[in-house]
Amino acid sequence: MLHLIKYQFMELIRGKEVMFWALFFPIILATLFSLTLTNMSDAESFKVIDVALVESEQHSNSSFSEFIHSLDGKYVTVDLMSEEKSLVLLEEGKVKGVFYDTQVPSLSIQTNGVEQSILSSLLYSYITNEAMILQVMNEHPQQLQSLLESLQQSDSTIREVNMNNELADTSLSYFFSLIAMASLYGGFLGLQKAMLIQANLSSLAARICVAPMRRFPLVIISISSAITVQCTSLLLLLGYIHFILGISLGSNWIHILLTSFIGCILGVCIGYLIGALRITRNMTHNTKTNLVAGCTMLMCFFSGLMSFEMRYLIQQQIPLLNRINPAALIADSLESIVIFNNEQMYYENLVIMIGMSILFISISILITRRQKYDNI
């Protein structure tokens, strides 16, 4: 048994491709992002940005106006004006962006730059808040008050953080998406292990299947070794972000670790499932690796890794997707605990993640427990 476990680990850790995705790629991304962050704060932080606010008559949404006005003087200088005028000013560059206070608040910008990205992230953070406010209002009206208070608190912590020239919440969000991605890259490890379990997927697996080994312990050992290696990679990534890049992700370490680990389990399970499925006859390991990479990227894309607007767009249009997208679940749960200090939301996300993991792993075990194949 020990022998088996030892080699299961060795095989993973020495796999260059797998370790690249699971460990080095996220570290590279984190480094790149921290570099752009430093540049950004050196050059252009603390400049107050001129913006216009256009209130629509039909769909005036006072809470958004309130939110924008509350930022007045700290991040932005707000001028309430008509749409025509705002567009002229935007054209001339006198304002950097125009916020529309419609039912779905929106933003017009002329160019892409750091200021514009700050504006869109402000909008994004409002939308995330609003979604949460609405959710709580529907489900637990009595808790609305405390939520609003906690939001205010977290708002002030964020501002404080910003004063100390540390991370703003949008940058934190980016790192959370990154952690989500890194966790889900556990899929590569899961895939690798699944390919070795089924005789109809590889000759290596066939060789293992003819040995006098019970299947179930083999499946369990292979999955748990993948999870262990992935959790370790993530620990290294978090350590790297914290100690080497010197970026603080907040003080809720236990929560962050818990989310990351459950994220890793979910990632491994997704990969294991994709590996266990016989999608077509001759589907090679390589094709499946690409499939896992593609799925993970798609999940991260929808969760806002590439642009923050994506997640709020989805929150607006297909909120259900955010509730089942593993990347969004991981990022959301981190955000809800670190930025909004909302434990309920946090645990809700975790429970969904655990549920999905159990579902995927059960399907995988059902598939891989079969021992005789129609085709090899």
Partner: protein, 312 residues
């Protein structure tokens, strides 16, 4: 000697394709049993069914006198398999690969260490122990593949085309190795589409075609089964049609084929087939550049039973 493997009327279909068509095999302890057949004849499919990796549609499979199932762990302990494709971990070294697979059978660490050492010596990979498979040449890789399958000293060893794409030197080493394993007491099931190899090492042979066992026996027995006892070939020979008929009437000649100046005569078994034919050529002043006589090969057996060459 008792049967180690009994396969009775095994049928395996892949959708419409019938890969195994009522295949029956009886393999006795101590044999080097050859499954000889062209590519696609169903050799690998047969082995995968026997190993209980593949579902089959019909038939009975017994190994060590027990019905074989995926959970026949007792039987599996005594089986070693060398798959047709090289199946080793890229991430592990030569030593670690052998140790890994041996460890699936042998739990005792000390004993395993000894066995792995012996396996490495057996395939002569001592110098490459620490190397990763990627760095090994095709022949060495095949030898590693074999070592992984036999390190635990199984009583029954399946080798599925272990010499495909191997240089002649490695091939001979492999064949000698298989005979050595057999001398130490292992029963071997060996598949190949090279008749020379099968003839060289196998004590018993089944010729497989389209999933059917079309003939079984020692290579001598197989050759006795067919009409041909000797094939005589003349090159660059000029014959008139009536002469061809006259040659056909010589004793024991049962088949002549004349094409592009080459004459092939097949004779039934008997002594001195060549002499009456040469006499005939001399009497009729027929000239030719070369004559050769050859005893039947397994290819002739295959040809006569199936009407096609073993190797197309």
């Amino acid at each position: 000697m008792s049967n180690i493997i009994e396969v009775e009327n095994l049928v395996k279909r892949y959708k419409e394709l019938i890969a195994l068509d009522h295949l029956t095999l009886r393999i006795k302890e101590g044999e080097i049993y050859g499954l000889l057949g062209p590519n696609g004849s169903g050799k690998t499919t047969a082995i995968n069914c026997i190993l209980s990796l593949l579902k089959y549609d019909k038939g009975i499979i017994k190994v060590f006198n027990q019905e074989m199932t995926p959970t026949s762990y007792k039987s599996k302990e005594n089986i070693g398999v060398v798959m047709q494709n090289v199946a080793v971990f890229e991430e592990l070294s030569v030593y670690e690969n052998i140790d890994y697979f041996c460890g699936l059978y042998i739990k005792d660490k000390v004993r395993r260490k000894q066995l792995v050492k012996e396996a490495i010596a057996f395939v002569e990979l001592e110098k490459f122990q620490k190397m990763r498979p990627k760095k090994l040449s095709g022949g060495l890789l095949r030898r590693l593949n074999i070592a992984c399958g036999i390190a635990h000293k199984p009583k029954l060893i399946f080798l599925d085309e272990p010499t495909v794409a191997v240089d002649p030197q490695s091939r001979n080493k492999i064949l000698e190795g298989i005979q050595a394993l057999n001398k130490e007491g292992a029963t071997i099931v060996y598949t190949s589409h090279y008749m020379e190899e099968v003839e060289q090492i196998c004590t018993k042979i089944s010729i497989i075609d389209h999933g059917k066992n079309i003939a079984t026996g020692t290579s001598e027995e197989l050759k006795q089964m067919i009409k041909t006892g000797e094939t005589i070939t003349f090159s660059n020979i000029m014959l008139k049609p009536f002469q061809l008929d006259e040659i056909k009437n010589i004793a024991r000649v049962f088949h002549v084929q004349y094409e592009d100046g080459n004459l092939q005569i097949k004779c039934r078994r008997g002594n001195h087939n060549l002499i009456p034919i040469l006499d005939y050529m001399k009497q009729n002043n027929i000239v030719f550049s070369q004559v050769s006589s050859k005893l039947p090969t397994l290819n002739d057996v295959f040809l006569e039973i199936t009407g096609k060459e073993l190797r197309d």
